[in-house]
């Protein structure tokens, strides 16, 4: 089974990369020259509070031992204790991750039509004014930072169509309707950033497919034009964009950091920014490790999909 072995190989590589990332994060924050306690508390801290923090973080132990102890904990689902709130990191993290998962799923749902419909219009009307106009719009959107796009959407929706809230606050008691109201604008921002990236590639793929012989055949057989596009061209044009979708998923991991901050949404991204600002090292380590894990998983899945979809690797 060549395919199974190839996938297993990729899995081992992905896990190894994750292990390396865990070491990098820990090394950068806690092993790099300079006293960790001073870096967290700043220069003005008293000797007493620094000594207390050193004790709490076991900074007097060798660095490698501390890393292995932390890694051991992580493997058992224990990310340690938040320095600021003294709660378990996992307890702080879990609801935030759930919020971001909801936002990301919503963004992905919006992303699919936002990417395919403009690409279809452009491909069918290629080199016409509509195609050129949409190319210009995509380029402008592609060049717009997500925090700017989010702020402009906020301005547009809150001033012109005042149905959506400016601040995306939710808590444990929020129901689905409140969640949807709160996440529509951030999800739309993320979806647009992802869609404009995919549209250009999808347009080119579609044009290539529409020129293929089997599409000409279908047309000659008298298959209705609409059916040719939706049933024959689109599925074949989508396969090469798998890679783009994986890259988009990877973008999403970093994108939520900015976009959640723009809308004040209590997700994983805003937690990361807060923990960085407060220098809550255990929380920083856990959030970045999770971000990297999602990124690595996305790339792994794209690799697996590419392997499974590649007919050359199909055996028996």
């Amino acid at each position: 089974m060549f395919v199974t072995r190839l996938i297993a190989q990729r899995l081992v590589m992905a896990l190894f990369t994750l292990l390396l990332v865990s070491f990098l994060i820990y090394a950068v924050l806690e092993i790099l020259p300079g006293d960790v306690a001073t870096r967290i508390l700043g220069r003005d801290a008293t000797a007493q509070s620094i000594a207390a923090l050193r004790e709490r973080l076991h900074l007097n132990d060798p660095a490698l031992l501390r890393y292995l102890r932390w890694l051991g904990g992580v493997l058992h689902g224990d990310f340690g204790e938040s320095l600021v709130s003294s709660r378990r990191v996992l307890e702080v993290l879990a609801p935030r991750v759930m919020n971001t998962a909801f936002l990301s799923a919503y963004a992905f749902l919006l992303y699919i039509p936002l990417a395919t419909i403009p690409a279809l219009i452009q491909a069918v009307r290629r080199d016409r004014p509509v195609d050129h106009a949409m190319s210009v719009i995509t380029l402008v959107l592609l060049s717009m930072p997500d925090f700017l796009l989010g702020t402009l959407l906020l301005l547009l929706f809150v001033l012109a169509i005042p149905v959506l809230p400016a601040m995306s606050t939710v808590d444990q008691t929020s129901d689905l309707a409140e969640y949807l109201r709160a996440t529509t604008l951030p999800a739309l921002t993320l979806a647009i950033v992802m869609a404009v990236y995919a549209v250009r590639m999808l347009r080119d793929n579609l044009i290539e497919v529409l020129d293929a012989d089997y599409i000409r055949m279908a047309e000659l057989r008298g298959v209705p034009a609409r059916r040719v596009v939706w049933r024959h061209a689109l599925p074949n044009a989508l396969v090469p964009s798998l890679n783009v979708t994986a890259l988009n998923l990877a973008y999403l991991v970093g994108g939520v950091v900015v976009v959640e901050k723009v809308f004040g949404y209590p997700g994983f991204g805003s937690l990361l920014v807060d923990s960085l600002q407060l220098r809550d090292f255990p929380l920083i380590e856990a959030t970045i490790l999770i971000a990297a894990a999602v990124y690595i998983a996305a790339n792994f899945l794209a690799d697996v999909a590419a392997i499974l979809l590649n007919p050359k690797l199909r055996t028996g």
């Binding site: 990098l24 060049s143 930072p145 702020t151 001033l159 973008y251 970093g254 960085l276 600002q277």
Partner: protein
């Protein structure tokens, strides 16, 4: 008669210009405008970048204050003008540093191969696995509070984020070029690895690296802006555009121009750089995929 002959002998500058892709020409024009403003702006900007009481705070945009006045009474238009050279300088130097480090690592790793290459690849992959903004934020915090807000740290962080990604491209190029005959001949001549890299690999990878540089430089203002926006980049009152958007964002409903102004500057710079990148790539016969996702 003679004019026709001359035209046939050497195409005029105008025909040459007409042959360059339209995107390159528009991109170059936008970039030229940005460079001009960045270079001369501080001389003619109506107000200083931290000058207060220039008008009524949060007053709507007017001819005297095209981008409005922020809550501290500073003229946003002047601040945008003063910010130009900061954004350009930091973006270009950060990307250039990343290009030098990245191509050095990539070319060497790809050419030497074997165990060295394997180790370097794993390390680069680990670095790339941390989303670029998250990696930048991590580096900012790891540098400690004393260095935060330092422009040199921003340059270094941009380089750190880009170097692994550029190295990956350079490595692929090096492996591909290494299989060609002229490299084998150079090796048989007894040239050292460094000499082969400098005289054979680098010249042949230039077009790849050039496009890579243009692509990365295009998103460096966004990266720097994002860091400023989140409060991890340059410090106030530096007129960095992302930082300005973040400062004026809370009052965007009252004074939208104070956000739209710096936003327009940032977006137009990136549009210019992106068009330029696309044009350069087309001339060099390469495909390039624009987007923060890369």
């Amino acid at each position: 008669m003679s004019t026709v002959e001359r035209a046939a002998a050497a195409p005029s500058l105008w025909t040459k210009l007409a042959e360059t892709p339209l995107s390159l020409r528009i991109g170059a024009a936008i970039l030229f405008l940005h460079l001009l403003v960045a270079a001369t702006g501080p001389l003619w900007a109506p107000y200083g970048y931290s000058q207060m009481a220039t008008g009524i705070p949060l007053a709507p945009a007017s001819l005297a204050h095209p981008f409005g006045v922020d809550q501290l009474g500073r003229d946003v238009f002047s601040r945008v003008i003063h910010g130009g050279h900061i954004v350009l300088l930091l973006s270009l130097s950060g990307t250039a540093l990343g290009l030098v480090i990245g191509s050095l690592i990539g070319l060497l790793s790809g050419y030497v191969g074997g165990l060295v290459d394997n180790v370097v690849q794993r390390l680069l992959e680990a670095l790339i696995s941390i989303p670029f903004l998250v990696l930048a934020l991590l580096a900012m915090v790891a540098a400690g509070p004393e260095l935060s807000g330092n422009p040199l740290l921003v340059v270094f962080v941009v380089a750190l984020v880009y170097a692994p990604r550029i190295a990956r491209m350079a490595r692929t190029a090096a492996i591909e070029i290494s299989t060609r005959d002229f490299v084998t001949i150079a090796k048989l001549r007894g040239e050292s690895a460094v000499s082969v890299m400098r005289r054979e690999l680098l010249p042949n990878a230039t077009s790849i690296l050039l496009v890579e540089f243009a692509l990365r430089a295009g998103y460096a203002p966004v990266l720097i802006g994002s860091l400023g926006f989140l409060g991890f980049g340059l410090r106030p009152p530096t007129p960095e555009w992302g930082l300005m958007i973040s400062e004026n964002r809370s009052l965007v409903m009252i004074a939208p121009a104070t956000v739209i102004g710096p936003g327009l500057a940032l977006a137009s710079l990136v549009v210019g750089l992106n068009l330029f990148t696309e044009g350069i790539a087309r001339i060099l016969g390469r495909t390039v995929r624009l987007g923060v996702q890369q």
